[in-house]
């Protein structure tokens, strides 16, 4: 069973997620892009777990998905608060932490 196309899919998904997180200015799209990058990592974990028939990779995917859910809950609370404050979804307007 050849795994190279799964690695290709993972690289493509990660790249699209990175571009979405860096270039797009909507904070919601930014969030989905981060989830896409996490999913790309998951795909690679599952592919290589299959490569070596080793289930430890799958356990790591379990942890990553849990952390992603936690991150989504906290992140959404933060962006809802920011939206309340600024009334915009433009990510460039959120610059409170700028020195």
């Amino acid at each position: 069973m050849d795994l190279s196309h799964f690695i290709f899919a993972s690289i493509a998904l990660f790249t699209i997620g990175l571009i979405g997180a860096l270039a797009m200015r909507n904070v919601l799209i930014f969030f989905l892009s981060i989830e896409m990058m996490l999913n790309a990592a998951n795909l690679l974990f599952v592919a290589f777990a299959r490569q070596w028939n080793n289930e430890i990779g799958l356990v790591w995917v379990f942890f990553i998905v849990t952390i992603a859910a936690i991150e989504a809950a906290v992140g959404f609370a933060i962006i809802i608060n920011l939206f309340r404050e600024k009334q915009t979804v433009d990510i460039d307007q959120f610059n409170e932490l700028k020195g």
Partner: protein, 169 residues
């Protein structure tokens, strides 16, 4: 001669990449979240092809069932923002973005080229591989400490979310 499972795999990979591009280029957040749903379903299929049935189910349950639903709620709260997304083009031109994308893929390909000699995965897979039983056994034996420590971020998330979402007096 490509057989049917391989054609299906390529179809779902194509669908995955297409819907991922759709997520970042859609005109409205609702469309991009629906596009993300397609991404998740094709990923779940790919996980199934890699004989990780439990992970595939969890992907659908947690991502599509929980995270995407929260996302939909957030979109509902962001009603006013719906109009803004069309007036938020990326700051750099799409040509630069394309260049950056190609450069990044090239960098990864430089690392990935070492994988060429990788031997083919064993087509035979143990009966219990990726099932709830074997993953659960691993979680409660070798990984019991990390598994229990997951409680801490979950607790922090609950308390932190309540604190952040609280209205200022």
């Amino acid at each position: 001669m490509a057989n049917l499972p391989q054609v299906l795999e390529w179809t779902f990979i194509f669908l995955l990449i297409l819907s991922a591009i759709g997520v970042i280029t859609a005109s409205k957040p609702v469309y991009s979240s629906l596009s993300f749903l397609v991404t998740l379903i094709s990923l779940a299929f790919l996980f199934l092809r890699l004989s990780a049935s439990f992970i595939s189910t969890m992907q659908i349950l947690i991502y599509a069932g929980a995270i995407l639903v929260i996302f939909m709620f957030v979109i509902v709260l962001f009603q006013d923002a719906h109009r803004q997304i069309s007036i938020l083009p990326p700051k750099s031109s799409s040509l630069f973005i394309l260049f950056a994308m190609c450069g990044f893929v090239l960098i990864i390909a430089l690392f990935a080229i070492k994988l060429i000699g990788l031997k083919q995965a064993d087509p035979m897979v143990p009966e219990v591989y990726g099932s709830v039983q074997s993953l659960g056994r691993l979680l409660y034996t070798d990984f019991v400490l990390p598994f229990e420590f997951l409680v801490i971020p979950l607790l922090v998330a609950v308390v932190g979310t309540l604190y952040v979402a609280k209205k200022e007096k």
